[in-house]
Symmetry: C2
Subunit: 198 residues, 2 copies
Amino acid sequence: MKPPSALATLIDALRALPGVGPKSAHRIAYHLMQHDRPGAERLGNALLNATSSLHHCAKCNTFTEADICETCADEERDASLLCVVETPADQAMLEQTMTYKGFYFVLMGRLSPLDGIGPREIHFDRLMKRATDGAVREVVLATNFTNEGEATAHYIAQALKARGLAVSRLARGVPVGGELEYVDAGTIARAVLDRRSV
Amino acid sequence: MKPPSALATLIDALRALPGVGPKSAHRIAYHLMQHDRPGAERLGNALLNATSSLHHCAKCNTFTEADICETCADEERDASLLCVVETPADQAMLEQTMTYKGFYFVLMGRLSPLDGIGPREIHFDRLMKRATDGAVREVVLATNFTNEGEATAHYIAQALKARGLAVSRLARGVPVGGELEYVDAGTIARAVLDRRSV
Ligand SMILES: [Zn+2]
Ligand SMILES: [Zn+2]
């Protein structure tokens, strides 16, 4: 006795969710079909809409539906500052602190050679091009203070300094091993103000 | 700084998944958009296809794309036996034991007055109609051996006996408090063979 094919296909497709194995996929599928079909339909449409309409900002690499994201289109920002973050969530945390008024570049990851994530995967060439546009004077490295985040910052710092740019790193107000997304805004604000040249 | 609307909509829609709060919804959305767009698209299509094509079998109430599910359409089965289970997963477990050759009725739940799940929600009227079709001689109650499953079995047994039907319950080979889905097939096989009249 197999589940009907639309259900089997759904159970299989749910495995795309991080951390969802065969057992949870079953449970989620039955839950949605028994108790929340409107929610399932909304989620289905949201997934298709997101995959078709979201792409990367031509300037900062974050997700956007336009060519250039809202942040990059903001003419009030200081074009001499470029902050490098791992993820849009990290960028959102920095914005919350209201201590930084420059632009961003979002790596959408961090170097992790063992997982096959190299310079290409973090869009290193685009970052170099963006940082050397002539307007940027200082690049603030705000990758996480994990081993991989530190290695990523080091790698980018070397390349940028070789091109004559000033490079700084958030101060170690952020706990060692900590991830920006989970740190309180006050600590991050401190770290922005105390950022040091590297 | 808000995420673009397609992303915000996706994050919100992901909350339909059981156990997914705002933080995990964020993480899942970014994961899918960064690392698995084909998976996201497949899941989107699977959800829409499942919500539009799956409905309840006219005879046993399980999910099917046809009017009558494969199991109910199987003419080799013993029409004098009707087994009542809580979920399709429980039915699948019983089928695996190869000890039961009758038909099924799937409640798609269990009585749980505190959660507002009464006779209507477990399709009690349809079960009564199905059980009194003239062919069914014995109804085997295979709801879980939890408090709610036992209460559900008791409620159904009273109603069926009042209509003159033989009613049995799986033997207590299933550990008290246990849920069928998580019990080994051997134990369930024993319980089917030892089922007792109630
Ligand atoms: Zn941008
Ligand atoms: Zn059926």
